[in-house]
Amino acid sequence: MPRAVPTLAPRTLLGLLGALSLAILPHLFFGAPQFALAALTAVGLRAWLAQQGRDRPGRGIVAVLALLALAAVFLSYHRLTGRDPGVALLLLMTGLKALESRTLRDGMLASFLGYFVVATGFFYSQSMLVALYLALVVAAQTSALIALAQGAHGPPRGVRLRTALLLLLQSLPMMVVLFVLFPRLPSPLAGLAQPGAALTGLSDRMTPGEFSRLALSRAPALRAVFAGPPPPADMLYWRGPVLWHYDGRSWSPGTAGRLMPGHYQAQGAALPYTLLLQPTGTPWVPALELTAQAPPGTRLGAGHVLTADKPIDRLTRYDLAAYPQYTLDAALPRAERRAALQLPPGAAPQARALAAHWRAAAPDAAAVVQDALNYIRTRGFRYTLTPPPLAGDPVDDFLFRTRAGYCEYYAGSFVVLMRAAGIPARVVTGYQGGEYNPLGHYVLVRQADAHAWAEVWLAGRGWVRVDPTAAVPPNRVDLNVTDALAGLPERGLLPMEFAAPVLRRLSLLWDSANFYWNDWVLGYGAERQRALLARLGLADWGASALILGMVGSLAALALLYAALYAWRARSTPAPLEAAYARLLKRLARRGVTRLAHEGPNDFIVRAARRFPAAAQELHAVNALYVGARYGAAAPTPAAQEIERRIAALRLDPPAHKK
């Protein structure tokens, strides 16, 4: 090439390619894995070529590849805009840019693309782990960028990485300012949220098999922070969808949408708490029983179920108050009564017969409830996550033959028994229990804590919660699913981590870290921004004032940094002295310390005598230093050379004198 274009040194190029790969890597688990793989392949191909000492592929090939990439993205998504196609395009183009990189300009461009790739990672995950990883990738990218800017004679990798991390650290205050003051949008950026995708949680249908899947999921469902000590585990019923309709096989809300919200009468003291709900893609807010007032953005529906106005597609925070003592629907409206007594004709004949028998013998409804619970307690019922399959009518088969199942078997069958006995009853789903995290002072409820129980309506008492599952193994209600399962034969199904207490403690620690991350970082929305600003006395700041404040703060930070830099430039040693100081430090660590009044040449003679194998290199490095410090030559190149050679210096153990 006749043009004098600065080309990339192989070492610099490989560093850049490495940083790019790190940025692309997480996308293998995100929205466009096949394109991430293609991009990685392109980057790897360039690295292979560089290592072979070969040039990039021709421009024609790259142009064809670019067209192919465009076509592939379009064929996959039928458009080129939006989150996934956009990211796929960015990944492919970054890979191709890396593939055709030869000059410094190419490298710079690829490096900047790499930063964008890092940013797109947050479209898919905002978890703490991913944020941490991406921060490290930014450091690697910056290190590669420094190498690009300084050319082949730049400082060694360790120094560059240190500089990059330092830069990252210095940008932290700016990041905090931007984070706190940047005006929050009331809803996420259009096209970024993808509701319903790969989310687990409660469903409004209860069919066999569903809860056992949740029971194995360690994923957090919600976290609750109580002002005081948390209530005991047997009070922690997190109310989800209420199921009224039974079709002989599965339960659903049925016509609940047409029912009125219940009449609620709170007794005793309120229990205030903060609920941090993981995104579910559904509108239900599993609040502690029983919520008095719906917070903004939610309402209380039929069966006193708290639902949000929109599906919950991101971490959401609610300030709630629960009344553990309550009366719900002291009088039962007719529509409710009908819905709470519904049974499909012909379903569960044996259960109906049993219920009728109880009803005839019992003085009141409460006695029938006790009869049913006694039946479960005394007839060898067993709690298991892998129940034998049911044949024929599921309720009859469960109650009279298999007698093994998990909460939904019990809750469903119990409600059928009650309804057969003429007692209004309904199934309530949600979560039960939770794990108190003493490190974060909150209760963590996992998907594994999903539960189903029953409510019966008793005259004069309203709806009363009955948990028939509690009648089986007594520890089912007191402890969470994990603990309950620990003593059961199915234990092998659960991940190892439950067994070891140390791991358990680590897992608690990890969850509290996540909790704070969720609460303070992801949970910091428009609402909390307003609250924080109000606390700072800036309640009436509008968006424009916020932006002004942001710019002002950033300018102040920049000035502060400039002042710090000027101050440091005066007080810290020049690079040459710093490099020499490192040599002295290394030697001192090996027992050869330079005396204050000792000249460098005298000292190096002494040091070389201690490390005969390194003597020649020591003398050479020293000569460089002495020449640069006391000679008439410019010291900076020597400083870098010294830095490099000190890093490579091997100090064998000192020779022992006889």
Partner: protein, 312 residues
Amino acid sequence: MLERAPRPQPAVDARILRLLAALEGIILGKRAQLELALACLLARGHLLIEDLPGVGKTTLAHALARALGLQFARIQFTSDLLPADILGVSVFDRSGSRFEFHPGPLFAQLILADEVNRATPKAQSALLEAMEEHQVTVDGVTRRLPEPFFVVATQNPRHQVGTFALPESQLDRFTMRIELGYPAHEAERALLRGEDRRTLIGALAPCVSAADLTELQRAVHRVHAADPIVAYVQALLAASRAPGRYREGLSPRAGLALVRAAQAWALLRGRDFVVPEDVQAVLPAVAGHRLQALDERASAPAAELLQSVAVP
């Protein structure tokens, strides 16, 4: 002298090596002192040799003059020496009816002022003024002394009888003071077996020309003394002036002498820049005669000064 590891030394000027070799042929086993003396002269300084009689002070001065190809004059200082005996006198010339100046022995390039502390202060000051100014004024007429102009003075240790100790102000004019000391065993044997030194000096041919000498002196000036070196010298001066250590601190002239001597020492080592070790190597010779520790027991004030100052 510090021990050096065997490694390639920078190229030393061949003329310097020649000079040192020639001097070593005469003064045996005194390499360090010869180097210091040579450095002193290359730095255009005057040299004071203090030692017992008979250890070779005069021989050294004479050999220096011969090796450098300088016009040599020797002035034996005695208690009855008059300034005119050094500077010269104006004598009335009858035929020309005017005074004619008869230059004294001072009008030479290398003066050996032997046993300078035997003379009276009056005669001493006549010499010392000439050393500083490189000129003498007799009968109102100022006359330049030849260039280069070196004074090598020898002095007997102060405690010997019949000596007038040089005052501090006079001592300060000598760039260096060195001591020769008794020769080492081997060297003394060679001395005893060898030829008469005087014969050897007579046979000694000049090793450098006058132009070479001037060039070497200029080269000393060109040796780079970087900021850290100047800072180091300043730190040494400051430490010498700290109260409670020495009777008097080092003068600015001493500081200048230190820099020049260090530059010359660097040139002798074949370097074109000064390193801290150069300063350290010449400091005892440069500062030794200017410093008097207040603590009478302190034996080596210059070494102690070095130990107390960190190398920047």
